[in-house]
Amino acid sequence: MTDEPRNIIKPVFKHLARYHLFYAIITAAVVLLLPLFVIGQPLLFGSESYYNLQQAPQQPAYHLSFKVVETMSHLPLSAISIIQILAALISLTFLFKIGTTLRINAKKQSLFLLLLAVSPAFIIPFLGLSQMSIFILFSLLGFYILTKNGRWRCFSIIFFAVALTIDAVSSLFLVTLLTTYGFYKRDKNIYYFSGAIALAAITAFLLLHLPSVIGPFHQQQLSADFISDLGGYSGVSFFLVLLAIIGLFSKWKDSIEMYVLFIAAAVLYIYSPQTVLFITVITIVFAAKGFFVIFEPKWQLSSLKNFTLLLLLLGVLFSSATYEQRITELQPTATELEVLAWIESSTPKDARFFTSSEDSYYLQYFAKRETATSFQRQDLTEKHIFEAVYVQDLFPLLEQEDIRYIYLSADLRETLPQEQGLLFLLQNERFKLAHSQEGNEVWKVR
């Protein structure tokens, strides 16, 4: 039953382990640049990017993360895109350097970096201008300095301070990471440092009125946000989840710290799917572990081993390729941008608009108009307006919110029922079609 085909895995991994930073950076660069080439216009992905750009000038100076955004906000969007891609590559480099300093197994590190580079949870913050991208970069900078011996370690607090001004949940995870690092190094000084960071985080939360978690910026779903193959725009591939499950249940005594981090990340994710990045990173760590648990030992059916490895690689690649196709939807189209430009030039500056929560951030940034909707609103006004059956139900809601215009993008209109609800009620004489272009419509409320 045993067969002896050529073993291709060992030499490939030996090569990868030697040059893994290079391959990780190339992979990340390709993955991040591909959507920009496909669309042809280097805009930022995701409504959160435009929320951050629009909010940054209004935030006080002590919101360091927003100050970082504000310094970039004066640049063209294309330049910000490139800076974010460079930030991603720098983040990977620092991850590599931290791993080397901590003497993490080169093969495992190489796989971890490669898997991270193709994971949606890592890609999406750097394809836009997300607070998470700032958290990643500055936390890694801080850790890099912290892993160095000597007095220079205290300068890491400068970078951690930026990461602490995002939200309470990110700060909590950072403190957990630091404590775990201290446990791993058996270094009391790290514990004290972690305690200091925790105090700083609590102070920042209480005095600076930081949100408990920033966002959300899309309709949240526990499963789809974690497993990108289920339609979410973040998370990891299902294949990595399978590997992670295997890694989770193998040789658990070897890495207790990772299980602590996993539990912390899982709790935070259940609390708010916006924190998907943390659980994704931990999942990829376990996926790398699971990979070696499966493929490192000699198989009795050697040809099956190569075939299974090929399946896995194809699966991850296919998952990434499908994701790359889908994320092009996270940018406003050229036609939408034209309509938003029309809104800016042709509607009163104080006009208040109604649109979907997702489109509201594009409208606020590109058209510089106030909107009545956002994902941060806890009430159901948006739902009630979209689903209103009679004009008697709709008009009081519009008046209550002082809505004078309604913006419906082509994608949004496709999701709404034609024969009832808002689209049907727009036929009423109190609504006038002010502008229309390729299915994107602007309606004036008289």
Partner: protein, 497 residues
């Protein structure tokens, strides 16, 4: 002994096949869920590719499904000239042949487990007449899937033998390309690993490797075919976007009585005994695999992650396999007694009891298949021949594919719900169109779905307790067919000209 057993096996197989074909050909109709597959086979025979965009279903929609079963049947359709063996005849023969082949697979599995030819023949006999397998007019993927699944398990328990690894891989590949329900066996393998770890049983390395390969291969194939469905429906993909209103038809609350009747009481009781005994006493690895499959099926059914019909089929075949162990134990028991006539008595009594408890339920299942009536088929055929346009026609959703098959007309809805965002709304609207007393309401819905004709079949009459549509008037509805089935042309519209 082996030769004698082979003759008996051949006899059981031929008996099962004969009974199945007789029942299948007693009516020309197929079950409602067969017509989608018939249309796909027809399309593949003419075009070479599956029809992933269907102009007739829901008046035009995209489809995603696994096409191996359709290609498999289309192959037979292609190699046999239509004038000698029409496609509908092939569609009757192939599924029944495949299900009858379970007899052979079950025999060999039981033989491998028990080493007893006689006991294995009884298992084969039970598999031949399981009530749950007696939808003889059904032309669905399960006809290929069920034998494949058990072939996979047979290859798995024979991994040590030469070439069985390759047979396993081929069978598993085929199962993955036939039905997404292959995850039943993946979960079964997972429980098998778990039970083995708990029991401290040492597994063969090859078994673990094959399971890992199977897991990744299954996920990869499903992802390849269903990536849009997964992205669109997420976890709801498991429930195939079945509307809430009819969810209970596909995932009913399972009851012990229903299970016993579907499986038949003697295999059920024998199987429960074997499972109970195996869990607490013996460490027979081969039985553990099937016990794991029973546990996985039970859990998935309870969690409503697998359709009840499929799970009961799976369950009943495994119990048929376990009957061999039960029978062998009975033989060993009687050997220890002083009853001399047990050698004749035991098989005879077993055959009588099995026949008495299985044949009638099997025939009842065959008789109660959900199929369009001859009147409905005749009406659909007439409609297709008389009205050339592919106009949208109102029928119940179960009849949608039958209408498209016989009449070549667009339907408002059929029994494939994936990628249809308004499936629940359509179910509601179809009910309204049948039962409303207001003509304007009906006409509004006809305009919404561009319905040009409406059909009232005996099934619709029974479902909605109506003898006719309540809003029929001469000026708006022209009767074009008025027998047991009524067909009307819609003349009026609410929309402005």
């Amino acid at each position: 002994m082996k030769e004698k057993a082979n003759y008996w096996l051949a006899f059981i197989f031929l008996a099962a096949l004969t009974v199945r074909l007789v029942l299948a050909f007693s009516t020309p109709a197929f079950t409602y869920d067969s017509y989608f597959n018939l249309r796909q086979v027809d399309y593949i025979s003419n075009n070479g590719f599956p029809q992933f965009h269907d102009e007739l279903s829901y008046s035009g929609r995209d489809l995603r499904f696994l096409p191996l079963f359709h290609y498999f049947t289309a192959l037979f359709d292609l190699i046999t000239p239509d004038q000698f063996i029409p496609p509908e005849i092939i569609a009757k023969i192939i599924p029944n042949l495949l299900i009858a082949s379970l007899v052979i697979i079950v025999y060999h599995i039981s033989d491998k487990m028990t080493g007893s030819k006689t006991a294995s023949l009884f298992s084969a006999g039970i598999a031949a007449f399981l009530p749950t397998l007696y939808e003889t007019n059904s032309f669905t993927v399960e006809a290929l899937f069920i034998p494949l699944i058990f072939l996979i398990t047979f290859c798995f328990i024979n991994l040590k033998e030469k070439n069985f690894v390759y047979y396993y891989i081929i069978a598993f590949l085929a199962a993955c390309l036939t039905s997404s329900a292959t995850f039943l066996i993946i979960v079964g393998f997972g429980i098998y690993l778990l039970l083995s770890a708990i029991e401290g049983k040492k597994l063969q390395k090859a078994e673990v490797e094959i399971i890992l390969f199977s897991l990744f291969f299954y996920v990869w194939t499903q992802f390849l075919f269903f990536k849009e469905v997964l992205a669109s429906e997420g976890m709801s993909f498991i429930w195939q976007n079945i509307p809430q209103q009819i969810m209970r038809w596909y995932f009913p609350q399972p009851s012990l009585l229903d299970t016993m009747l579907s499986v038949s009481i003697i295999p059920f009781l024998a199987g429960i005994y074997v499972v109970g005994r195996s869990l607490f006493k013996l460490k027979n690895t081969k039985e553990f695999l099937y016990i794991s499959l029973v546990i996985s099926t039970t859990i998935l059914t309870w969690l409503r992650l697998v359709q009840f019909k499929l799970s009961i089929t799976f369950f009943s075949i495994i119990l048929a396999i376990f009957f061999a162990s039960f029978y062998k134990e009975m033989v060993d028991f009687f050997k220890r007694t002083r009853i001399k006539s047990w050698k004749i008595g035991l098989p005879a009594i077993t055959i009588i009891l099995l026949a008495a408890t299985m044949i009638f339920p099997a025939l009842t299942t065959a008789k109660e298949q959900s199929m369009p009536s001859m009147d409905a088929i005749q009406a659909f055929r007439w409609f297709g021949e008389t009205i050339p346009q592919k106009t949208t026609t109102l029928v119940q959703f179960e009849e949608g594919n039958a209408l498209s098959y016989y009449a070549g007309k667009r339907n408002v809805m059929d029994d494939h719900f994936s990628l249809q965002k308004d499936a629940e709304q359509r179910i509601l609207d179809i009910s309204t169109m049948y039962i409303t007393t207001f003509q304007t309401e009906a006409l509004g819905l006809f305009d919404k779905y561009r319905v040009g004709y409406i059909i009232l079949t005996p099934k619709a009459k029974s479902r909605f307790s109506v003898d006719n549509f309540h809003y029929i008037t001469q000026e708006c509805f022209e009767p074009i067919y008025n027998q047991e089935v009524k067909i009307y042309r819609v003349r009026c519209t609410l929309k402005e000209a």
